[in-house]
């Protein structure tokens, strides 16, 4: 995968052979938008060629046999729809059930039926937008999600979904605006959303600032601090990176690997004396461990390496 999506971490699905029961196409996984919102696996559907199958699935005549755990839920919904065939909400629910199990064809069919019955049904446009993202119909997704946000301007889930559409269409700033708006609405967003926000910033300084703002909000989450450290290192901000390393080391019961990394960073920056001090500190951190941790194979190997790195360098022969 290339282009803006790849730049912010949207990549081919890493799942080992992850294919849905209904699948015969290509999946793309959006790791930064994981979850029911953004488990946005993209699949090219030849669904118009499958109308007969869609009809059968729409009517519930072909259960998801590969997913026995949802058969009961499907049976309940089928019965409810049989009793109230004009109830659009039931079709939306059944479409969601299929979509959660990556069965895009029957999901689409049920959403279409719901749209026929009640075009403005709450949640329907968002669901159709999510499905369009899953089928790589990004313009369609944008249209559905625009409608969802017109109907419900504070729908954070729709905003986050639209981030995916913006990015796929090459508009980072649109995605960033939606993500900022969604983050303001969410009471306790997870770190992944803040990592995505940082990735949407073009400027490293802006990305770092956004991570600091995130940590001010949700605490010094390891992954946010680590990403900020990586950005500082990548852009040569040695002292800022050292401060972040110190924070990470303070948060850890075992400081030796962070102190080793501090030494490595200082070495790369040509600050060799300070680097040796950091390596010596790391060695001391290992020495202070209880013996059963100090004597573990990892610790023994690291201590040997640190002892070599911390040793005074022989004077130059020149």
């Amino acid at each position: 995968m290339v282009g803006p999506a790849a730049e912010i971490g949207l990549s081919p699905c890493p799942a080992v052979g992850a294919k849905s029961a209904a699948s015969c196409g290509t999946f793309i996984h959006f790791p930064r938008l994981a979850g029911s919102l953004g488990s946005v696996r993209c699949f090219i559907l030849p669904w118009r060629a499958c109308r007969q199958a869609i009809t059968a699935l729409l009517l519930g005549t072909a259960a998801l046999r590969a997913h026995p755990e949802i058969e009961a839920a499907l049976t309940r919904l089928n019965s409810a729809i049989a009793a109230a065939p004009e109830n659009a909400e039931l079709y939306l629910t059944r479409g969601d059930l299929y979509a959660k199990h990556d069965a895009w064809i029957p999901a689409e069919a049920n959403y279409l039926r719901a749209a026929e019955l009640a075009p403005l049904l709450p949640g329907l446009a968002r669901a159709r937008g999510a499905l369009a993202l899953s089928t790589q119909d990004f313009h369609g997704a944008m249209a559905h999600l625009n409608q969802a946000l017109e109907l419900s301007p504070t729908d954070a889930e729709a905003m986050i979904l639209r981030v995916g559409a913006w990015v796929a269409l090459g508009n980072r700033s649109g995605g960033l605006a939606d993500l900022e708006a969604a983050l303001k609405l969410l009471p306790s967003p997870g770190p992944e959303l803040f990592l995505t926000r940082a990735a949407l910033h073009v400027s490293p300084a802006d990305a770092i600032a956004s991570l600091d703002a995130a940590m001010a909000r949700i605490g010094l989450a390891h992954t946010l601090q680590l990403r900020a450290l990586e950005l500082e290192e990548a852009h040569g901000h040695v002292d800022a990176a050292l401060r972040r390393l110190d924070t990470l080391a303070r948060q850890s019961e075992r400081r030796e690997t962070w102190l080793k990394r501090r030494g490595d960073l200082l070495t790369r920056a040509g600050r060799h004396a300070q680097a040796r001090t950091a390596y010596a500190d790391a060695l001391a951190a290992i020495e202070s461990l209880p013996d059963w941790l100090r004597d573990s194979p990892d610790s023994v190997a690291l201590a040997a390496e640190l002892a070599r790195l911390a040793a005074p360098q022989p004077p130059s022969s020149s």
């Binding site: 080992v16 992850a18 889930e157 997870g190 850890s252």
Partner: protein, 452 residues
Amino acid sequence: MKLARLVLLISLLAGPSLQAATTVVRGPYLQSATPTSMVVRWRTDNTEASVVSYGTERNQLTSTAKSEGIVTEHIVHLANLQPNTRYFYAVGPVPLMPPANPNAPVAAKKAEAEDAPGRAAVSSFTTPPPVGPAKPSRIWVLGDPGTKNAVQKAVRDVYYKFTATRATDLWVMLGDNAYPDGTDADYQRAVFDIYPETLRTSPLWSVLGNHDGKSANSLTQSGVYYEVFTFPTQGQAGGVMSGTEAYYAFDYANIHFVCLDSHDSDRSANGAMMQWLKADLAATQRDWIIAFFHHPTYTKGTHDSDKDNDSAGRMNDMRAIFLPVLEQGGVDLILTGHSHVYERSWLIDGHYGKSDTFVAAKHVKQKQDGRADGEGAYRKPRRRTPNFGEISVVTGSAGHASAKPVPLNHPAFYLSLNEAGSSVIDVDGAKLEFTFLNDKGEKRDWFTIVKE
């Protein structure tokens, strides 16, 4: 007409008193326990203030903790507690004053506190011990319990009989806690109505299952699961700060627990959960590492870990991406559910493929049954040694076993049973004992790991 006026008059007069008669409809229940803190949660049918009265004597609940607001969903953080100490507590809208006569006999004082008008009952909990030193610990493990049916209750009652007066130090749910959709109503009936006694005396920890995920979203930290539970996002219970309740860690005595979200968080090798896991495993100094998540790395029960399309590849991800890191980090025990059976491995390491690639000579590190009264316990060096082997347990039948025959033929497992039941872990210093109890009260499996 007269009758209607009378009813109106009665309702007007009765209104204020009815308003005051707030009822606790959920809990209290205990969350995010640390040696010095506890989160107490409960729900009332009407809004009121959130106050916990507590103390180390049942009749002397002289300390109070409050949270802001007039609410129905009460979350109160008790801080500055003493480790390994039994606290008595009561929840309500106002502090529970000490009994009028402190010199009264103990029995009378107890009755006075418990029976005071408008007061909730007095419950108790014991704070976790200081982190690090060993302490005999009992852990109850429930996988996929939330069926609300007689099997779930039978499994519960078997454990209650088994543990009797031995306190449950903590309990763990492996996801799918409330069928079918993890809604608030499902949680009420499948969790809060089923385990009220354990909920108010032992802290409950959980991971997200696929059925919980129908009403929750890990990315936004929203939905019923995230509203019902309070888990540590700041590393306050031990481990590295994750910033999310979807995956987190906590310590209990000399045990480090790692809780992963196999359902709804990014499972990629460079994702946030993996970055956090690596840092967390590298940081811990506990003797034991127990990891738990919903989707099993191996199973041939009601799910098949060999099928790529089963559970949308989540089992593959946990086996191929996360298991190597857990093993490298020295994990001792992996607990999972999802498959409604009981499956228990030998001490194994290094198997990340499909079942047909499992080679006992290569992957089984110790071939005995693990039973001290059988072929002998599993033995591991106390010094943390990567890839020395772990026991993998699928214990996903606390609500039901499979109604249909299932293969139960994964070669990684020493024992596979299609039986409802729950699991019990007893850790005492360098010894970990594991027991599986079925819903008939039979001890169907057991093994021991000893560190030396």
